[in-house]
Amino acid sequence: MPQYRIICKNHNVEKCWRSYEEQMPDKMAEIKTFLEENPTDRSKAPGKVKKLKGRLKRFLQYDITDSDRMWYEVDPNEKVVYVEYIGPHQ
C-alpha cells in the first residue's frame, strides 16, 4: 500500500512522465515506488536525490539519468508528492 499519492502538476508533466516511462520502464517504476514509499529518504536512492536549498528549499530533485531530472515537492501532512517538472537539466 503506497504511503504517498503522486500528483503531476499538469498534463504536460504527466506527458513527460509517460514518455520517460516508455523509454525506461524499469527506472521509472523504481522512481514511482521511491516516491510512493519514501520520497524524502535519500538513503533509499543513494546519490540520486538532492534536497534543494535557498529559494528552492521546498523542492527535491531526483536524478533520473546523468542528464535528466525530476523536480518535486512533498506535502508530509497530506501525504502527497507533487511532481513539478521532468526533463533535461541543462
Binding site: 499519492r5 503522486i6 500528483i7 503531476c8 502538476k9 499538469n10 498534463h11 508533466v13 504527466e14 512522465w17 514511482k32 535519500r42 546519490g47 538532492k50 534536497k51 534543494l52 536549498k53 535557498g54 529559494r55 528552492l56 523542492f59 530533485q61 531530472r69 523536480w71 507533487y82 511532481v83 513539478e84 517538472y85 526533463g87 537539466h89 541543462q90
Partner: protein, 148 residues
Amino acid sequence: MVTTPFSDEIVNPSELRKRQAHWLGMAASAPITVTYGDFKLAIMNRDKIAHLYKEVHYLELGIKLCMSVRSENAEGPLPWMKHLNDEEKLEFITELVEGIDEATKTNSWNEVDIILEDWKATAETLANPKVMSALTTRRSKSEFVPMK
C-alpha cells in the same frame, strides 16, 4: 603548531622483515617510519590517509571560497556559485564550513559531499529558465493529474 600524525617508531627494512606482524599491527593504529637509504617512508592505515587527503581537499576548498567571496571574485573554485544570490552564498558557505568542522571531528565526510551536491543542484536549477518557470508557477488543483 601543527602536530605530526607520525609516532616515534622508526625501523629499518631488516627489523621490519624480522618482526613483520608486530610492525604492521602497529601501523594499523599509528604510522611507523621505515628508513630506506636517505628516505624515510611511512606505513600507515589507508583509511587515515584517505581522511587526511579529504581534510586537506575540503579545507583548501573552504579557504578558496572564503577568499573568492572576500575579493568578490565571481568565478572562485565553484563556478556554479554565481547562480546563487548573496543570501544563498552566505548560507552555503556557513553550511559548508560547519560541515567541514563537524567532519574533522567525526572523520565522516559524507555529509560535506551531500552539502556540495545539494547546493550544486540548487545552482543548476536556478540557472535553468525552463525549470525555474515551472517551479515558480503556482499549482492549480484543476490541472492536477494523479498518477495511477
